[in-house]
Structures are given as C-alpha cells and as structure tokens.
C-alpha cells in the first residue's frame, strides 16, 4: 500500500492560480473560540506575505488522528500539521518524513516556557513548533477543604493521605474519579512513579522495556494506600469523565473535594456541572518522601506544529509568525490557549490557568502524557492495569509485570 501511494509526487510545492505558494495546514480547532482565531491568524500572516496562501484544513480530533495515520503510512504528510509529540512524532521522524526545526526554534526557545518544547525534542533536535502547553495537577474545592479544617494544600504524599482521611471523616467525598475511562486513574500512577523514580526513570523504563523497577512497584503501593482509604465517589468504577454524573460533574457540582486533571479541568467542570467558580483552586501533585522526583516536576502535554520534509520555506515562516509574542498573546486571550511564549503569560486572566502556567514555568522536569510518550499499546496497558489496581483486582507487582510484558512485545 505504501508503495502505491508514494507514487504521487510528495516533494513538490503547489502554487495557486495567482502564483502564490500554497501551504497546507492541518489543525484540530473545530470549536469556538479557537475555531475563528485560526483563519484570522492566517489572514494576518497573508497580509504581510502576499506570495503565500495558507490553506487551513480543520479536522475533528479523532478524525484527524485516523486520517494522519493513513497519511503517515503513505508517506505524504501535510506541509504543517498538528502533533502531540512523543511516540507518534518519533515514528514519523524515523520514517524520514519530518523537517528538523532546530534552526528555527532554537533562537526562539529562550522566549518560550522550556517545558513546552519537551514533547518534540529527540536526540537534541527539535521537530515541532510548540503552540500550546498544559499540565496535570490537583483541582480542589477550597470551601470543602476549609470545611474539613484543611488550611493549606498537602505538600507530601503522607499529608495528602491525611487530608483524604480528614475529608472523609468530615463526610466529604475526597476525590472524583472517572473509573470507566481509565486514563484519569493512570495520572495518579504516572505522577507517583515520577515522584518516586524521577522524571528520567520514565523514559529509561520505556527504552529498557522494563517497568518492574522499584519505583514503579512503590508507585503502585502508594496508589494502593490511597485506594484503601476508599476516597472516590460512589460508583466511580462506572463513571465517565465529562458525562452527566461523571467525574467533572461531581467536581463541578461541589460533591467531591478534588480531582487530578489537566488545565481543561475547570472548563469541563463548568460544562458538565454548575462549576464552583471562586472556590476552585490548583495545587501540584505532592512529593513522595525519599523519592528522586521533585514536586516541581510536571506531567502534562500540549500541542505543536510539525513541518513535513521538503515543505516550502513559507511553512516555517508562518510558524515563526504564529508563535511570535504578539501572535501568542492573541492565541491566549482569544483562543483560550495556554501560553507558550513567556511574554504571553500576562494575557491569561483565569486564576486557575495562571496557576497551571506558573507550575509549568517553574518546572524542573517534564514528562509527556504516557499514552503519547509510549507506544499506544504500552500506554493502554498502563491505563488498563492501573484501572485494575484501582478496582482491586491487580497488585502493584501484577501491574508492573503486565506493562513490562506488553512493552517487550513491541
């Protein structure tokens, strides 16, 4: 199949009837407010560059992923395309399909939040322009914390477990969790592994195809300690994330004290539930005593634009323009993106997002979402095994063994 499709010319640049270079950009901004910001950005660029036409192709997230899988195996990528970095981008790079953007990005890098570049860095080179960066942390209900007599967010795992106990004894559901969807539970395991073994241990484990190391076992044990406290809402094993009665709704209706979620958390809470407004606070995942990871290490991910090998120079020019401080400020204030350019941080107004951005700005280490960093099968096995651990059917050792087994079979 690959051979057949590769027959069509992939290296050439196209021009339109007016002789302008056409650059095709595949994006995933299908919803407002960002949906209308992209065409506006494109016009702003074209106004300055009369010889270039940016052709926007906007696809829904899942449709985009499946279409890109097909395009990748045919070896014919769009000039500029959305990427989440990690394993998928790596595959495309290994297949020789992606332009090395280091010469473009490295002069701009000092103006960026450093963590934003991490998902696209391989062997000291950068393969995409970051356009968005977010992180996972605890969103908590300050009013419920106060009701349980908790004045400050917990800083260590021991404090955290203690806080859970106190919330419980005050008659409050400590944690909302979408057990049906598995990935929210994985966040706990991932963060605990990072805190115990340090950020580097995560990639090392993937490279060595071995997740049976001490740090992963300990992470499992710590998660088991939490599960043993029965901190989750009733029926959490059947709960979805953004569904009615799901994790976000429970949180947004003030029925649970916290959830471990990315920067999109507050929006979904307000969508699925009522939203808790001023009561909502954010704190980073606690440190684990004796662990190698710092409390400032961040787990998260973002979005970036990669350029196909052989794309016209205009594609790179557009990305430089797109992530200039002025442009990123527009993206932050109008499209509700998370700032990548440091100067654009000021454009944030939401206190929750500000807190996330500050956490990212202070990040001493960064780990990309596991389902993006690892091969899909490994990421899914982690989700699956951790879900079983939370449901009480798998031990930490069994989790480590299943994940390792899948990693080795890749």
């Amino acid at each position: 199949m690959a051979g057949l499709s590769a027959c069509s010319d992939s290296g050439a640049t196209t021009t339109d009837s007016e002789g302008r270079t056409v650059v095709e950009l595949w994006n995933i901004q299908t919803t407002e407010p960002s949906k209308s910001v992209w065409p506006e950005r494109v016009k702003a660029f074209e106004a300055k560059n009369s010889k270039v036409r940016i052709k926007l192709v906007t696809l829904e997230n899942d449709a985009y992923k499946s279409k890109m899988t097909a395009r990748t195996s045919s070896g014919k990528l769009p000039d500029i395309y959305h990427t989440w970095g990690g394993g998928v981008l790596r595959q495309q790079i290994d297949a020789g399909l992606v332009e090395d953007l280091t010469p473009t990005v490295s002069p701009m890098a000092p103006t960026f939040i450093p963590a934003s570049l991490k998902p696209y860095e391989f062997d000291g080179k950068t393969y995409a322009m970051p356009i968005d960066i977010g992180a996972v942390g605890f969103w908590y209900n300050k009013a419920l914390f106060a009701k349980a007599g908790l004045t400050a967010p917990p800083a260590t795992w021991a404090d955290y477990l203690d806080a859970v106990r106190r919330l419980k004894s005050a008659g409050i559901t400590p944690i909302a969790l979408a057990g049906k969807e598995k990935w929210p539970g994985m966040y706990y395991w991932a963060y605990l592994s990072m805190r115990v073994g340090g950020v580097d241990s995560m990639q090392e484990a993937a490279d060595a195809e071995d997740f049976t190391g001490d740090s992963f076992l300990k992470a499992g044990e710590h998660l088991k300690e939490l599960v043993a406290l029965e901190p989750f809402q009733k029926g959490f094993l059947g709960a979805g994330y953004s569904t009615p009665n799901g994790e976000a709704a429970v949180m947004g209706n003030g029925e649970a004290a916290m959830e471990l979620m990315g920067q999109w958390g507050p929006n979904v809470q307000a969508d699925s539930g009522k939203g808790i407004g001023e009561d909502l606070g954010f704190f980073p995942f606690p440190a684990v005593a004796g662990g190698k990871g710092a409390r400032t290490d961040v787990f998260g991910g973002g979005g970036g634009y990669a350029v196909r090998k052989g794309a016209p120079q205009a594609a790179v020019d557009f990305l430089k323009f797109f992530m200039s401080p002025e442009s990123d400020r527009v993206l932050v204030s109008e499209a509700e993106m998370m700032p990548v350019v440091k100067e654009a941080v000021g454009a944030l107004t939401d206190p929750g997002l500000k807190a996330v951005s500050e956490t990212l700005g202070r990040a001493t280490g960064f780990q990309l979402y596991l389902d993006q960093a690892y091969p899909p099968a490994v990421g899914q096995e982690i989700n699956d095994s951790v879900a079983a651990l939370i449901a009480g059917t798998k031990s930490p050792e069994q989790v480590a063994r299943s994940v390792t087994q899948v990693a080795k079979s890749q």
Binding site: M1, A2, G3, T69, T72, S73, Q91, A95, G179, K180, E181, K182, K234, G235, F236, L237, G238, A239, G240, T243, P244, N245, P375, P376, A377, Q380, E381, A387, A388, A391, T393, S409, Q410
Partner: protein
C-alpha cells in the same frame, strides 16, 4: 444472435440439427455463453462490491493476523500463529467467550420467552393493543448509543432514576452500583439489551401469530383443549419457523454486541462487561496492535460463521427447504 435464440427455443429443431457436424458445437456454445453471460452481467456489480467490502477485508484481516503489526507501513514481522496462541491464553478473551455465552443463554432463555409471552398477550383482543405494541417496539428504533447514554443516567448510583424509584418505594436494597459493580454489570447490561430488543422479537412473533389459522384454535376449543394445550400444541409448533429465526438473530446479535457496552462501560469495570467486539476495538484502535486485533476478528468471524452454518444446516433447514432457488431448479 436473435436468429439463433429463436431457433434454439424450439427443442425439436435443436434435436433435428444434432447430426449436423457444424451446428451442434457452435449453437449450444453460444447459448451456453448467453446463459452464463446474463446472470454474470447482472451480478457483477454486486459481486464486485461484496468482494471489495466483504471478502477482501476478511482475507486481509486473516493475512494480517499472522503478523506482529502496528498498522504502520506494510506488515513485515511474521509471527506465525503467535497471535492465535496468545488469544487462547488471554484471560480477557477467554472471559469474552464466557460472557458471550452467558449473554446468548440469557437472551434465548429469558428475553425470547418474555417476548413470546408479550406477543401472545398482545395478540388477544385487548383495549389499547396497538398502543402497547408500539410502546414495546419503540426502544428497538432507538440507536444503541442513545440507549446507552439513557441508561447510564438511569443507572447512575444514587442519583439515577432507578435508584430514586427503588428508594421511593422502599426497595433501596435492590438498588446499588449497577454498571459500576463488577458482579452486577453484566446483568445490568443484559437488562438494557432486553429492554431494547424484546420488542423486536415480539413483533416477529406477532407477525408469525397472524399466520396461525383461527380455525385450528376453534377446532381445538371444541375438542376441549385448554389455553395452555392450544398454545403448546398449536401456536408453538406453527410459530416454529419464526422462533428459529428469532433465536438465530438473537444469538448473532449477542455475539457481536458492541455499541451498547462501549457507551455504558467500555467493557469495565476491569473487563467484567467486555465482549469480543470491545476487545477487538481496544486492540485495533486503542492499542494499534492490528495483527492481534486481526486474530480476534478472525476468531469472532469463525465463531459466527460456524454457528450460522450449523444453525442453517441443522435448525433452519426445514424452514428454507424448497424456498432456495438453484441453477438446477431453474433449468
């Protein structure tokens, strides 16, 4: 051509030409060609589509199932029957088979008798009969996805309609975690399946009941047969073909169950409501282990095929005998 065709219409003439050395080979050949060409021309579009969208994908899935393949590039890592041996040792897949069997047994053992009872009931002269028929059939018209969303709200622990109603009538004990409970999830899924599909089977039975002559019942009644005897010895045997068809549809439906499970539980908690199709989806689209997913799909295909063929051969045969057309019968 028209000349020969009118010629060959008359068998006498064709026989008369037999001794001729030139004619017999040519004319029957032209006729045979024509006989052969017409059906081919008419079936080619259908065959091409069937081949392209049914046969080729099945063969391709079979081919792919012998590789360790991530769906990227062409499959190259040939692993023989590894995917199949892995399948037979995979507790999730073995669990799928067990759960599939349970669903089949529940469907045939509970859903269909219930549908039959309702059909017999609604075949009586009853006030508002058309309304009830419509009411029971309505869920079948809903898509499985909508049904799933609806019931995940109804069976939400505490907050859902089911628990509220049970609470209001003092039966809190019966409520619980529904989809969130590993031990009850499959039963809850079956409950929803039954709600959605019994109306369809009821309609099949109702249609079948129209074919039961009233005269038979009358005669039986005159002979002193009670309602049960009439049901057992008249209705049931005459409904045989319908019931056999309905069992067939029900079993195939249970084997291929996906949408509903995916929406309400995604196979959870911890695989306790997972079906073969859900596992297939997990590996094919979430883990992109296309080779292994191919093996699952082939297993699923074989199970359905073997069941379908065996059922056609041993159970449906008497219903379809003589109804099927064949080339030989046509000539």
């Amino acid at each position: 051509m028209t000349m020969t065709s009118t010629d060959t219409r008359s068998p006498g003439q064709a026989l008369a030409e037999q001794p001729d050395t030139d004619g017999p080979t040519r004319r029957p050949f032209a006729r045979r060609l024509r006989d052969w060409l017409t059906p081919v021309l008419f079936t080619v579009p259908g065959l091409v589509l069937f081949g392209l969208f049914v046969l080729v994908p099945i063969l391709y899935a079979g081919y792919v199932s012998f590789f360790n393949w991530g769906g990227f590039g062409a499959p190259s890592d040939f692993t023989g029957i590894d995917n199949y041996t892995r399948l037979l040792g995979d507790p999730v897949f073995l669990g799928d088979l067990w759960r599939g069997l349970l669903l089949v047994l529940l469907s045939v053992g509970i859903q269909l008798p219930f549908a039959l009872a309702m059909a017999v009931l609604l075949n009586q002269k009853l006030r508002g009969r058309a309304f009830y028929r419509m009411l029971f059939f309505a869920p079948y018209v809903l898509s499985e996805v909508i049904t799933g969303v609806l019931f995940s709200m109804i069976f939400a622990p505490d907050a859902g309609l089911a628990d509220k109603v049970l609470g209001a009538i003092g039966l809190d004990e019966l409520g619980g975690l529904w989809f969130a409970d590993q031990d009850n999830v499959l039963a809850t899924v079956f409950l929803v399946m039954m709600w959605k599909y019994f109306g369809f089977h009821m309609m099949l039975y109702l249609a079948g009941l129209q074919g039961v002559p009233a005269a038979l019942h009358e005669a039986a009644r005159l002979d002193g047969a009670g309602p049960w005897q009439r049901f057992r010895h008249i209705t049931l045997p005459l409904l045989g073909p319908t019931i056999r068809m309905s069992v067939f549809l029900s079993v195939i439906g249970a084997i291929q169950l996906f949408d509903l499970v995916w929406v309400v539980t995604q196979g959870g908690p911890d695989h306790h409501s997972e079906t073969m199709a859900v596992t297939l989806f997990q590996f094919g689209f979430k883990r992109t282990q296309i080779g292994y997913a191919g093996a699952i799909s082939i297993a699923m295909f074989l199970i359905s095929l073997v069941f379908a063929l065996a059922y056609q051969r041993f159970v449906l045969r008497r219903d379809t005998e003589g109804a099927l057309t064949s080339m030989r019968g046509n000539r």
